[in-house]
Symmetry: C2
Subunit: 273 residues, 2 copies
């Protein structure tokens, strides 16, 4: 389990959800503004008070390291687990995390402070085994991994059963790109090309297009333009200015450009599929 950004009150929202604290492996921070990181110390403290042992990785812009380490030294010096800080260069596209099933890349963004998004890519998946064919040919269990890896199977009488008779194609690997906060970046479409789910900030509606540029934020229409140009499967917009009491205004402007758009909301669960 991963977390992206950690505003004030995140630990409370996490407690209200059904997500167990213990599963969290790493937190990725996009930039040092309070609504994206002021919940981090509280989260780390609570983990410590709950007796966490497993290390927690924190990926964040390199310039946050000095202060965060001082804060951890002062407030979180008596816990039984390590917080491993990984400084992130927000100006580079780079794989900063990898495990058996996925990679995470940075996405340089343009905001008022050093800021990057994060792109989660599932690694290529194995093909599905056609169970009925395995049974039909009486193929031993020991051969399943070879077949998943692409091997044909030779029967005792020498007949070769080709791999595509024994498998169905693998699912397409999924991907999730998180882009907040940023001004409109047309070149972002190339970076997030074809992702399964794109989260893109939409602070403003059309009425504040100039304000969006000035404050390095995006409008819903601009977010949808990135989604359309990147041919993503689905767009989720969020980070709405409190000036909009009805967020459907933003949703509708986005949908004019990219119909498969949804609104982010607190505690909302979205499948990446």
């Amino acid at each position: 389990m991963f977390m992206i950004d950690c505003g004030e009150g995140t630990q409370l929202q996490l407690r209200r959800s059904s997500i167990p604290f213990t599963g969290l492996r790493a937190v990725f921070i996009s930039h040092p503004h309070g609504d994206h990181c002021f919940g981090l110390l509280g989260l780390i403290s609570t983990f410590g008070l709950l007796g966490r042992i497993r290390p927690l990785s924190v990926y964040a812009p390199a310039e946050m390291e000095e202060l965060l380490k001082k804060e951890l030294d002062y407030y979180c010096n008596s816990y039984d687990y390590e917080v491993e800080f990984h400084p992130v260069d927000t100006t580079q596209e780079k794989v900063i995390y990898e495990d058996r099933s996925l990679t995470v890349e940075t996405i340089p963004l343009q905001h008022r402070v050093p800021c990057c998004g994060y792109l989660f890519r599932e690694k290529p998946l194995q093909p599905h085994i056609r169970r009925e064919m395995i049974d039909f040919y009486n193929i031993p269990l020991s051969q399943i991994n070879n077949i998943k890896a692409g091997a044909d199977y030779t029967l005792p009488d020498g007949t070769v059963v080709p791999n595509d008779k024994l498998t169905r194609p693998a699912d397409e690997p999924r991907s999730y790109a998180y882009c907040s906060d940023t001004k409109y970046m047309p070149e972002l479409a190339q970076k997030v090309k074809g992702v399964t789910l794109l989260y893109h900030e939409s602070t403003y509606a059309d009425d504040k297009t100039d304000g969006a540029t000035k404050y390095f934020h995006s409008t819903a229409r601009q977010a949808a333009t990135v989604a359309r140009d990147a041919e993503v499967k689905k767009l989720m917009i969020g980070h709405f200015s409190s000036r909009y009491s009805d967020e459907n205004l933003l949703l509708n402007q986005a949908k004019e450009v990219f119909p498969n758009t949804i609104l982010a909301d607190e505690q909302k669960i979205v499948e990446v599929e």
Copy 2:
């Protein structure tokens, strides 16, 4: 308006209440544990984003100054108002704040880190004017302040009307003592003698009296003992361990010692009277 301690999410709770942000003049922090101070940066940031101009005073243990200043420099350097830090010596009883209507004194407490409570004392109030007597003697408005200050009034015919015919005694000044976090301190009763309202932490019930001592916290019964020995008017207990699903257990144990006890709760409004 004053705030005492500022845990994570305080700004959210403040927004949910009917209390206007702008009225807050000073925040008093008891000690550098997250549940008492992790909301401070977020509160200060939000004030800045809302365009606050009036300075905000922060009173906190002196040892918090260095880190807090670094945090303010990093996260809150672009706002239009000043945060004035007042380092507090948590080991001394001392008046650290005074204005026209009240004083605030520190109350040294015993916790795992430097910690103090705060005692708010209303200044002596003026007597009430007996309006019907003012009318009866036809006393001009210009004399009201003198009479409130204790003067008699001389009628045009030379008759002296004594002050106690023109006034009713002033209300007793109110006082509020906030004591969290601390182990049981019998000597605290002397310090908070006779206060109108005492808030005293009650982390544990009787079952964890040993744990209370070990972790420098108090039981509900110990809080009530301080209240009884101090002859306070009312006791409010709070800071309950999450191990107690029913806080009435704590309330009842406190009431056995000091009947006029109430439970603190989120968003609860308590009159000091």
